[in-house]
């Protein structure tokens, strides 16, 4: 986003305040001197592990700070997009919440000027020295610390069903490139009745994730970085797409009408060999009886991407016109602590972004992931999950993939993806 554009937005926002929109909407916008106001936290973790995780975080925080009140407002049943909608409405009425569940990174540009600098208050030296460079960069908007990443879901995983791969005679650890995955799928197809690669194509997001992972594997961290900076090499992008096209021969026959959970269930029930997903897929595995890590399912870093931990994170940003400035900062500091992050991630199935967390209370899979993370040379941000590209570019990429799912035309889509930044 150009500097020019952001200035326009800032003007508009100030103008709105002056016009008294807040008064019109009957809201209590502004204020800000009372530290005793309850924290208003908007999130969409209304069920399942997400709900348990935010519950554990808030409980831990209240035990540590019994004086701070909470007006937690889960936005029930909402997708993240809906949450952005609410925040957009609230900002328009000059009535921001204290904080809300947001992807960090380039997603922050959406409400860019509404955030305030929390370097020093929240981002102390302790945080700065204990976050790895990748997550730390994502906490900043144009070099200013405005948000606190809370968890990390990894994107470059390849999960597999152990008995199915044994039957197929495939050793997952021997795979070293995306092309090897295609060969392994062929072996599964030949030797078993299982679907080689469980994937859903009713929505584009799973395919975007897969492609960005393959791009990272084939073009390397340099090629990946060039792409997300808008200088992508069309050849590299096309090659990655061609690998996805090759893999698509091994999808379930009804990939276009199933959802992610159904694809994931295929792996759990031994009807499919592989699935590429963020590590939330493992959340369903650990919830299942008699489906154990190591014996029944396993995970490898997506072949070709070792040394990289492809990041998807959630974070809590800080609004400038904060209704509860002190309390919000206290809470964000807690979110930045190893204690708070462990409480949250134990339930969520993700890992803490801090490198000094005591993860002994996390499960074996999470601990393995955490080891991978702390030893990863690179922690690049995910394209699909809003970290790597601005919302507008993200929209263009989504629409490029909605046509890719129709025609699987690598050439055309590669051009659209590289042009997505213009």
């Amino acid at each position: 986003m150009s500097g020019n554009h952001t200035t326009t937005r800032r003007k508009i926002l100030k103008g709105a305040g002056a016009a008294g929109i807040a008064g019109l909407a009957g809201c209590s916008g502004g204020g800000g001197d009372s530290g005793s106001e309850p924290i208003e936290l908007l999130h969409a973790w209304s069920s399942g592990d997400g709900n348990a995780a935010i519950g554990a975080l808030i409980k831990g925080f209240q035990d540590a700070h019994p004086d701070v009140e909470f007006a937690e407002e889960p936005v029930n049943g909402a997708a993240r997009g809906n949450l952005d909608q609410v925040v957009s409405n609230r900002l328009q009425a000059n009535d921001p919440p204290s904080t809300f569940q947001s992807w960090p990174g380039k997603t922050l540009e959406k409400f860019g000027e509404a955030y305030a600098d929390i370097e020093g208050d929240v981002w102390t030296d302790d945080l700065k020295s204990n976050y790895l460079p990748g997550p730390k960069r994502q906490a900043q908007l144009d070099g200013t610390y405005v948000t606190v990443p809370l968890n990390i879901h990894r994107i470059n995983n390849l999960f597999y069903n152990v008995p199915v791969l044994e039957e197929a005679g495939v050793d997952p650890d021997s795979l070293s490139s995306p092309a090897d995955v295609v060969d392994a799928c062929e072996a599964v197809a030949t030797n078993t009745d299982a679907v080689p690669f469980a994937q859903q194509t009713s929505g584009a997001w799973s395919t975007v994730q897969l492609w960005e992972t393959v791009l990272l594997a084939e073009a390397g961290i340099g090629g990946y970085r060039s792409f997300i900076e808008g200088n992508g090499d069309t050849e590299q992008v096309r090659a990655a797409l061609e690998n996805v096209v090759a893999l698509s021969d091994y999808y379930p026959g009804d990939a276009s009408s199933i959802s992610f959970t159904e694809a994931n269930t295929m792996v759990m029930e031994g009807d499919a060999a592989f699935i590429h997903q963020g590590d939330w897929a493992a959340g369903a595995y650990s919830g299942a009886d008699e489906f154990n890590y190591g014996d029944d399912w396993g995970q490898v870093t997506y072949p070709g991407t070792s040394g990289s931990y492809l990041l998807n994170m959630d974070s809590f940003p800080y609004f400038a016109d904060n209704p509860s400035p002190e309390a919000t900062k206290t809470f964000l500091s807690y979110c930045g602590s190893a204690e708070g992050q462990v409480l949250f991630n134990r339930e969520k199935g993700s890992i803490p972004p801090r490198k000094d967390a005591d993860v002994s209370s996390l499960n074996a899979f999470q601990q393995d992931q955490y080891d991978d993370f702390t030893s990863a040379e690179n922690q690049p941000p995910s394209v699909q999950h809003g970290l790597a590209v601005s919302p507008g570019v993200s929209t263009n990429i989504a629409s490029a993939f909605s046509s890719f799912l129709e025609n699987y035309d690598a050439e055309e889509t590669a051009n659209e993806l590289v042009d997505a930044f213009q």
Binding site: V75, A78, A79, N82, A93, F260, T261, E262, G287
Partner: protein
Amino acid sequence: MSDAFAGGSDRRDRLKRVALYAVLVAMAGFYLIPIETGLMTAITSPETYTGQTPFLPPLEPLVSGTGSFSLAPWANAFDGLARGLANSFILVVPATVLSGLLGSMAAYGLTNVEWRGQIAVYVLFIAGIFIPYQAVLVPLTQFWYNVVPLQAAFGPLAAAVPLVQEYHWKLVALIVTHTAYGIPICTLLFRAHYKKLSDEMIEAARLDGASVSTIYRRIVLPLSVPMFAVVFIYQFTQIWNDLLFALTIVQFGDASVVTQELVGIGVSQSGTNFPLRMAAALLAALPTLVVYVLFGDKFAKGVTA
């Protein structure tokens, strides 16, 4: 009318009749089979569902491969949709009644009067039927979220009145919106009816000195009962089935209506979800299906009258 076609040999006629019924039954199959398949899938236990014969009833262990009978998908669907169903009822009842009543009033006000301007006003009502929702969405979102302090008003109200929740403001906004958009079609339906009402009876009442509103209450309204049935059926279906207004006015959260909840059903639950999805689709469709099966005939007559 069949008499008009009598003639030709009896056998050829009978053959023709058989062919006619065959086509009619085949078409009935065409319209019913997606619903039937959905129903059969919805009563299959998810664990035994194979998808090989989705249109057959689940008869395991009698017929293998069909899955075994279970109402579990319905229970799950109800859990997933309960809140949406409740909100939809809160929305649909007042919106249907209000739009019907206001439509009847508008039709009366524009029918039993001699006033040159009425055609112009009426044209505006009629054109309103055909305006695509998209043409008003952005202003409506702006209006309900940033102009009308409805949400602020509902805070104290929710605290003071039992059963009222703060999020109900969104349903009120949706009720008003649906009422406004329902008035045009209701006016059209009622006006067609009122034009056929006996002038004499109304004239007689006028001569007796009855006021315009007395005539409406004493004569027109009682005579409108059959038309109200048609209008209510139509509006009930329209409002219950709508997604777009809910998506842009409620957006998400506690006030979500059933169509919104249905879109995402099965996405967050794990397992093979076709039984659940179908049960949810049927559950969400149940009120309007029942209304159509019971009163569809009345509706067909009313709409085309």
